[in-house]
C-alpha cells in the first residue's frame, strides 16, 4: 500500500460559544494554509468534512470558502468517531490513487444533535450518554472493585494536561477530592467524570509519499488503521470491555507491524472516566484489571503518555472535530513540537476514537 502522511494541521480554540459551523470549519482550515509550506489551493484534490451538524453540502461549502476545487468532496458522519472515519476515508482515497492530497476538516457545535441516537429503541427514555456511562461504570466497579477515587484520577490527570493545551475549552485544574465531591449525575457518575460537548474545529492535511516532502520536513506516517462496528444499539454491548476497540486495535497494530508496548504516546477516547480505564486495558497498554493502577501511576509520575492534550474530558468534545484533534496532537508529539506537553523520544503514537458506547471504534497508529 502507498505510504500516506499527515503533512499539515490546524485547530480552533474549543469554546462553549455557539458559532456558525462554516466558520469553525474555515478557521482550522485557515490554520493549515497559514502553517504548511508550499501549500496552495490547486494542490488539494480532496476535501472531506466530518460533522454531526445538520447543515448540508458542507464539503462543497468549505471548498468554496477556501478557494479549492477538489475532485472529491463530501461529508462523513459517524457520531463521536466522525473525525477518525473521515481521516480513514481520506487515507483510502489517496491509497487508491484517486487523489494525492486531501484536506480533512471536522467541526461541531456545543449541544449538537449527535449525542442522542434516536434510532436506538432499546435505550427507552434513557437515551443520553450519561446512562450508558453509568452502566459501564457500575459494571466496572462490580467486576474490578473500581473505586470513585480511581475514576477521579482519570479526570484529574486529563484536566491537568489540558492546562498546557492552548485549544482546550477550559484550563481549570481539579483535585481528586474536588472531582469525587462534584455533583452526582447518577449514583455512578460525577459531573467531573464526564466529557462535554463544546464548539470547535480541527483539520489535517494528508498527502502521498510522493508529495509529502513538499509540505513538511517532518511527515508523520499513518502506519496502521483498524476500524470495527459491532452494532448500533447500545444494549447489545458487553459492559466491561470495549470490544470494538479491541478488534480495531488488533488490526491497527498488525498493519503497523508493532506491539502495543512500542506506543510512546496515545490520545484515547475518554468520553467518561471509566472509558479511559477500559481503553488502556483494551488497547493492551496494560493487562485486564490493571487499568486503574496504570493510570494512577501515570498521574503520580506526571507521565503524559495517555491523553497529553487532556483527552475529551480536559480539552472538550466537539464531536466531529475530536478524532482529528487527537491526530493533530499525536502529529505534534511525533514532530517534537508539542511544547509543554511534549513526551520525550516519541516515535510511535496512537489515537483511539469511538462512537455510541463503543458500538464502533477506530484506532490509528502514527509514526515519525
Amino acid at each position: 500500500m502507498k505510504k500516506i502522511a499527515v503533512v499539515g494541521y490546524g485547530n480552533t480554540k474549543f469554546t462553549k460559544d455557539k458559532l456558525p459551523i462554516e466558520s469553525l470549519l474555515l478557521e482550522s482550515t485557515k490554520q493549515v494554509f497559514d502553517t504548511t509550506k508550499n501549500l496552495s489551493q490547486d494542490l488539494i484534490d480532496g476535501v472531506i468534512v466530518s460533522t454531526n451538524d445538520n447543515s448540508k453540502y458542507l464539503g462543497a461549502i468549505l471548498s468554496e470558502l477556501s478557494g479549492i476545487k477538489p475532485k472529491i468532496s463530501h461529508t462523513v458522519e459517524h457520531l463521536c468517531s466522525s473525525g477518525s472515519s473521515a481521516v480513514i476515508s481520506g487515507f483510502s482515497y489517496i491509497a487508491s490513487g484517486l487523489v494525492d492530497t486531501v484536506l480533512v476538516t471536522g467541526a461541531d457545535n456545543i449541544g449538537n444533535s449527535g449525542q442522542i441516537l434516536e434510532w436506538d429503541k432499546s435505550r427507552g427514555e434513557y437515551d443520553r450518554p450519561i446512562y450508558w456511562a453509568s452502566m459501564f461504570t457500575k459494571a466496572h466497579k462490580r467486576q474490578f472493585n473500581t473505586t470513585d477515587e480511581e475514576l477521579a484520577i482519570v479526570s484529574a490527570k486529563n484536566h491537568k494536561h489540558a492546562m498546557d493545551n492552548p485549544h482546550a475549552y477550559t484550563h481549570k485544574p481539579y483535585t481528586i477530592s474536588e472531582i469525587m465531591n462534584s455533583k452526582n449525575i447518577t449514583d455512578d457518575l460525577r459531573i467531573l467524570d464526564c466529557s462535554y460537548s463544546c464548539s470547535g474545529g480541527s483539520s489535517i492535511l494528508l498527502s502521498s509519499e510522493k508529495t509529502a516532502k513538499k509540505f513538511t520536513d517532518q511527515p508523520i506516517w499513518i502506519s496502521g488503521i483498524g476500524q470495527k462496528t459491532n452494532s448500533a444499539s447500545f444494549t447489545k454491548n458487553k459492559l466491561t470491555t470495549l470490544s470494538s476497540s479491541v478488534m480495531a486495535a488488533n488490526d491497527a497494530y498488525k498493519m503497523a507491524k508493532i506491539t502495543p508496548q512500542e506506543i510512546d504516546v496515545a490520545e484515547i477516547h475518554d468520553a467518561f472516566s471509566v472509558c479511559e480505564l477500559m481503553a488502556v486495558e483494551d488497547l493492551n497498554f496494560t493487562e485486564k484489571n490493571t487499568g486503574a493502577q496504570y493510570v494512577r501511576n501515570l498521574f503520580n509520575t506526571e507521565d503524559r503518555k495517555i491523553n497529553p492534550r487532556g483527552g475529551l474530558i480536559g480539552a472538550g468534545h466537539p464531536l466531529g472535530a475530536t478524532g482529528i484533534a487527537q491526530i493533530v496532537e499525536i502529529t505534534q508529539q511525533l514532530q517534537n513540537k508539542a511544547e509543554k506537553r511534549q513526551i520525550s523520544n516519541a516515535n510511535h503514537g496512537l489515537i483511539h476514537n469511538m462512537s455510541a458506547a463503543a458500538t464502533s471504534s477506530s484506532v490509528l497508529v502514527l509514526k515519525s
Binding site: 429503541k121 427507552g124 427514555e125 449514583d187 457518575l189 444494549t235
Partner: protein
C-alpha cells in the same frame, strides 16, 4: 411508525422474528438480519433478568434482558439496594409517548 412503536403505544411489548430462521430479530426491523425474509411480530415474554443497574436521583434504571436476547433500558420499581444483576424482573408496563418507556418490577426470587 413501525409495528414495534404502534404496539408499544397500546401497551404491548413485541418483537420481530423470523419464521425461516426461527430466531428473534432484535432490534425491531422489517426484515431478518440473517436471511432477509420478511419478519412476523409477536409478544415478548414479560419475564426478564437484570443485567446492570444504577440510580439517578430517586429513579432506579436498569438494563433488563428478555428471552436471553432482547435487552432494553427502563425504570425499575425498587430500592437500589434490593436489586442486583441476575435478579428476575417482570415488565410491568410499557408505553410510547415520544420516547419508548419501559417499567420493571422485581419478581419474588
Amino acid at each position: 411508525m413501525n409495528k414495534f412503536e404502534s404496539e408499544l403505544k397500546t401497551g404491548n411489548f413485541v418483537t420481530s422474528e423470523c419464521n425461516h430462521c426461527n430466531r428473534v430479530v432484535w432490534p425491531p426491523s422489517d426484515y431478518c438480519d440473517n436471511c432477509f425474509q420478511k419478519v412476523s411480530w409477536r409478544k415478548i415474554s414479560k419475564n426478564g433478568t437484570i443485567i446492570e443497574l444504577s440510580k439517578k436521583e430517586n429513579d432506579v434504571f436498569c438494563i433488563s434482558e428478555f428471552e436471553n436476547k432482547i435487552r432494553i433500558m427502563g425504570k425499575l420499581d425498587a430500592q437500589i439496594d434490593m436489586a442486583k444483576p441476575g435478579q428476575r424482573v417482570k415488565l410491568s408496563k410499557c408505553l410510547f409517548n415520544g420516547k419508548n418507556r419501559f417499567f420493571f418490577s422485581l419478581e419474588n426470587n
